[in-house]
Amino acid sequence: MGVAMYRVLKKVYLFILAVIFAISFAFFVVWLFRDQSFLYFAIISGISFLIVSYVFVLLRRAIYKALYKKYVLSGFNQRIFNFYDKIKVSFSINDFVNITHDILEDEADFSVLWLNTKNNSSIYNTLSSTITSNSANIKILIEKYTDLDEGIYYMDKDFVLTEYNKNPKSVVFSISGYLLFIFSHYLSVFDRHLFKNVYEEFHAYLMRVDMIEKMFSLSAISKEWALLAETQQSFLPTTLPEIKGLNAHVFYEAFGNVGGDFYDIIKISENKTLFLMGDVSGKGLSAALIMGVIVNTIKIIENKEDLLSIITGVDSAVKTMGFDGKFTALFTGLFDTQTKKMEYINSGIPEPWVVSDGVFKILSTNCPLLGIIDLGEVQSDTIQLKNGDLILLSTDGVTEVENDQGEMLGDSQKFRDVVLKHVKETPQEIADFIIDVVKHFNKHGKLRDDIALMAIKVEE
């Protein structure tokens, strides 16, 4: 009964102190100054009263503080004090639950129920108590107090709100959608001021944890996102193979963190090299996920000399997975360095060019887009190339860049001029010039799509 004792003692001590001060003040004043004139006596006693009463107030405060420490911050109350003291150093839900368990349940014999009214769930409840472990009670409390204004409330045994001095059985803290119920048969022995402190600390704790969690997940997500880009990069070749009779260079840039364009140059045998250039519909993560499937499907196709099996393999992989409305454009070219012939199937890659003797030839589409419709009968085409010919494979991020007049790069004379001007240079230089044109074709200089460009030169 610390608090009651505290209240009684406060009054007793106040009385004793006042009596001692009053009598000694009166005694000294009378003893020292009683023969003085009225005015002198009034001045001296008035000033003395001001000083003495100030000392009295200080002393009273000190005594109250000592009594509070002795009677309120001891016994039962000490536990509540410990509790909110520990909330200050709680930084996670687990921290909070641990101190609830150690102090409120084990030491103070409270049962605790912590509800989240935003999703009507119980975050924590004392299992050893019949009140808080009963799911029906939890349901009742959620229904009843979901819209409780923020603050401290007291509740009787029938879960009805009541006053602190009417022997409540539970104290309720309502803060930003959370309800914390602390049940005890002896709730009234605890000082209500301490509950106020608990409330304030709980509030600060919720704010803190909320922010910490948000920050934590932010950093986790940004790490995960960066990792995904790494994963996607790992599906693309880091270096291109050295192939006699061919000189190739690839430029690749995803519009966002990840993209749906892909490419590869695979040396299949001494004379045969496979070129791949693909573009999954859409952008970003969804395109990247499908790109991952396609690239890996191609990797496990055993006979890569059979262009048709690659095309059907990819087509079937996309279709089997049932990606809704997703498809891919894919150019597959099998180049024979000995005969300089290239067999190719173009499923919707726009305008793969062969520049030969200053003339642009387009390797037109000979197969539908993959993964969306029935392929029907597909047959590859073959083109005879010669030394010095340039093959340019790119996705629509290059050819379909529009200038301010709505003209597409692939159709523009400017593009052809640039290519023809630099056709004698290395594939890397040619690619660099083209990319420069792409990036400056519209005045905003902004990319709207992934860019992949492969420049291959037939050499001796």
């Binding site: 009166a26 009225f38 009463s53 932010l218 950093s219 997500i221 970003g284 993560l285 196709i301 055993e302």
Partner: protein, 715 residues
């Protein structure tokens, strides 16, 4: 004794204060001067008090010496104040002046102590202490008074030329203190004796020095501006309060004494004691009501806090920044706010400035920045940098920082030992200085500002998160169509149900059912290491690849070997698959399976009414190059009522808030308790139990599969 008790209390107090001032700032010339002044006051207090008492006891010789010492004290006060007025607040030694003044003071000491020119004798006149003044007394006192007034004038002139507002404030305090002390002096030594005819207040003359000393100490310990008008207002309230109580007390005590003392002194004591009690009560009542008046009109604390609370973080960096700036501007009253925040690469750069500061880099490794971090004072006012000794070491650098930020006040945000942000506030539009009230409020709101600053620092990550969120939402449809796009076990005797839950929208767990033939169906329960987007990318690839492999091979072991090699060769390092591959043959009711690391496979046998673990030991895929030698195909015959039940590690390894693991036993008991229910009921109710157990959002992907064989009776 009597009135002199005040002197005896003041004496030791003044001595202690003098020592304290000296100790606090040993090398400061100003401290030496203030200390000297306090010592002078000590002499006055003790000299007049003791001198008065001894004089009244007719010990005139000793009394005279004490009164002379008090005189020394008085001139010490005058001289030290004058000397202080010449240089304060700066630390100037002014050797020549100081020596001349010291010599002059010593001469005065000589005159006071060893000649009768100042005070010639102490005697009792009409039974009252009387000090016989020497022939020079009046002139010396007048000169002293003039010196004090001169000091005030010098202070005021110097003040008018000062730039620094905190110094101006300090001088204001000193001037007010000195003026007040002159007033007290005039009251005690001229007004009260001549108007009221009371000559016994002589010892209270020391109050002059006390008021002066108090104002000096207050001035030098004023590091931050405070609104002097509101301080005066408060003082006035306090004085009125004290006067009302004091006058009431004096009058009532006086009257009681006047009318009762003749009857009996005991009665007087009793009456006074009762009056004392009543006055205490009255004092309390008046004070309670005065607290309301004490509140300042310009208090903005509440609005500021409410404003900060209302900031909506979901609205993005610019909105949060502009709201923060708006709230600070409106409440604190400044249009210049600059925010420095730590970038992703750890530099402190301007993230916002309404003071037109475009470029500014604060080097975290600069000594003065480290110092600022170490002293752990989060709110610093420019005025304080001039005066507070803790900034003395890097005063120039810190002031330069204020200049660069055109700031009058800065708030530092420190996480651990690292400075993550700075908010700089420019001068107020009212041209008022930042004062103690601002200081108190800013400190109070620091935790709230910290949260905002923390947000601003992480804003770039936030924008990544928003992108990811958007991307994941767009891709969820792909993932879910992928997860749902599976075959079914076409047998009316089999009741198969599974549940997939991801921590975020995407995850690495999957269940796939692929029809292999008329009676054979393959089921794969997979759990890729990790969670989130990366795991789900690998999951999608694997699922697709398995389908492709199945077109080439129907061999069970070969398939797993290929999947293993594929993971090892093509997926990013660190990708592993825990999976259970099984084939159910509806013709024979047999299940063939290979377990590659699924931690829990239970078989409930209806015949034995028991649940047994059959997961065996299997290697996770993606570790070793060739897995074929580790693969063991097992077989189970299903009888009517049997249940094949499996979960990934997400369920059994998750912990409750108290750190308890969910474990296998709960699953075991759950199957036994619910063996007669449908697969869906068993799985859903287990997940319900699990959700209750962890209370929290799940933190690993979860998959639960139940395959119940119940032979339909032939009708």
């Amino acid at each position: 004794m009597g009135i002199t008790i005040i002197n005896y209390i003041l004496g030791p107090t003044l001595l202690a204060l003098a020592i304290f001032v000296m100790w606090k700032n040993r090398k400061s010339i100003n401290s030496i001067l203030i200390c000297t002044m306090l010592l002078g006051t000590f002499f006055v207090a003790v000299g007049t008090g003791l001198g008065y008492d001894l004089g009244n006891k007719e010990m005139f010789e000793s009394s005279l010496w004490l009164v002379k010492f008090a005189g020394i004290g008085v001139f010490t006060i005058y001289f030290s104040i004058f000397r202080l007025s010449l240089s304060y607040p700066y630390e100037k030694s002014m050797k020549a002046t100081t020596i001349i003044m010291s010599v002059l003071l010593l001469a005065i000491f000589y005159v006071i102590l060893f000649t009768p020119l100042y005070v010639s004798a102490i005697e009792l006149r009409n039974g009252i202490f009387f000090r016989v003044e020497g022939s020079l007394y009046k002139y010396m006192s007048l000169a002293g008074m003039l010196l004090l007034i001169a000091s005030i004038v010098i202070f005021l002139i110097r003040k008018s030329k000062m730039e620094n507002r905190i110094h101006k404030l300090q001088i204001n305090i000193i001037v007010i203190g000195n003026a007040l002390s002159v007033l007290v002096g005039v009251m005690v030594s001229i007004v009260v004796p001549s108007v009221f005819g009371i000559f016994t207040l002589y010892p209270l003359g020391s109050l002059v020095g006390v008021v002066m000393g108090g104002s000096l100490i207050y001035a030098i310990s004023t590091y931050r501006m405070f609104d002097i008008s509101s301080a005066l207002y408060k003082t006035l309230i306090f004085l009125i309060f004290s006067s009302v109580i004091g006058v009431l007390a004096g009058v009532s005590f006086g009257l009681a004494n006047k009318y009762l003392s003749e009857i009996s002194p005991y009665l007087t004591v009793a009456a006074l004691a009762i009056l004392f009690g009543l006055l205490l009560l009255l004092r309390k009542v008046i004070q309670k009501n005065l607290v309301r008046i004490f509140k300042r009109k310009t208090e903005y604390s509440e609005d500021l806090e409410k404003g900060l609370d209302s900031i909506d973080f979901s609205k993005g960096k610019e909105d949060v920044t502009s709201k923060l700036v708006e709230i600070l501007s409106n409440n604190v009253g400044t249009s210049k706010v600059t925010i420095l925040s730590e970038t992703m690469i750890g530099e402190l750069t301007i993230s916002f400035s309404s003071a037109n500061i475009e470029k500014m880099n604060l080097e975290k490794n600069d000594e003065f920045v480290k110092h600022l971090v170490n002293i752990h004072q989060e709110v610093i006012f420019k005025t304080e940098v001039y005066t507070n000794p803790i900034f003395a070491k890097f005063k120039v650098e810190i002031l330069d920082l204020f200049l660069q930020l055109s700031a009058e006040a800065i708030a530092l945000f420190i996480e651990g030992t690292s400075l993550i942000g700075v908010i700089a506030l420019g001068e107020k539009e009212s041209m008022e200085q930042y004062d103690t009230y601002d200081f108190k409020i800013m400190n109070k709101i620091m935790p709230k500002l910290f949260v905002i600053m923390y947000y601003l620092r992480n804003i770039e990550r936030q924008s990544v998160a928003i992108t990811v969120d958007k991307e994941v939402k767009l891709s969820e449809q792909i993932i879910s169509s992928l997860l749902e796009n599976i075959d079914h076990i076409e047998s009316e005797n089999v009741d198969c149900y599974f549940l997939n839950k991801f921590t975020s929208g995407l995850g690495g767990d999957f269940v796939d059912i692929i029809k292999l033939g008329k009676t054979k169906t393959m089921m794969i329960v997979g759990d890729l290491a990790g969670k989130g987007i990366n795991a789900s990318m690998s999951m999608i690839i694997l699922k697709s690849v398995i389908h492709t492999f199945l077109k080439e091979t129907s061999d069970f072991k070969m398939l797993i070997t290929k999947v293993n090699s594929f993971i090892k060769a093509n997926l990013p390092r660190g990708t592993f698959l825990a999976g259970l591959f099984m084939i159910y043959d509806s013709a024979t009711n047999q299940v063939f399976y290979v377990n590659c690391g699924i931690p829990l496979v239970y078989l409930f046998s209806n015949d034995y009414n028991s649940v047994i673990e059959i997961q065996g030991e299997g290697k996770i895929l993606g570790f070793v190059k060739d897995i074929s030698k580790f693969l063991v195909v097992k077989k189970v015959n299903l009888n009517s009522g049997d249940i094949l039940f499996m979960t990934t590690d997400g369920i059994i390894e998750s912990e409750s808030l108290t750190g308890e693991m969910f474990g296998k036993e709960k699953v075991h008991n759950h199957i036994l308790e619910n063996k007669d229910k449908t697969s869906k009921e068993i799985v859903d109710s287990l997940f319900g139990k699990f959700s209750n157990f962890v209370s929290n959002a799940i933190n690993d992907d979860i998959t639960i599969v139940s395959l119940k064989y119940a032979k339909k009776p032939i009708i």
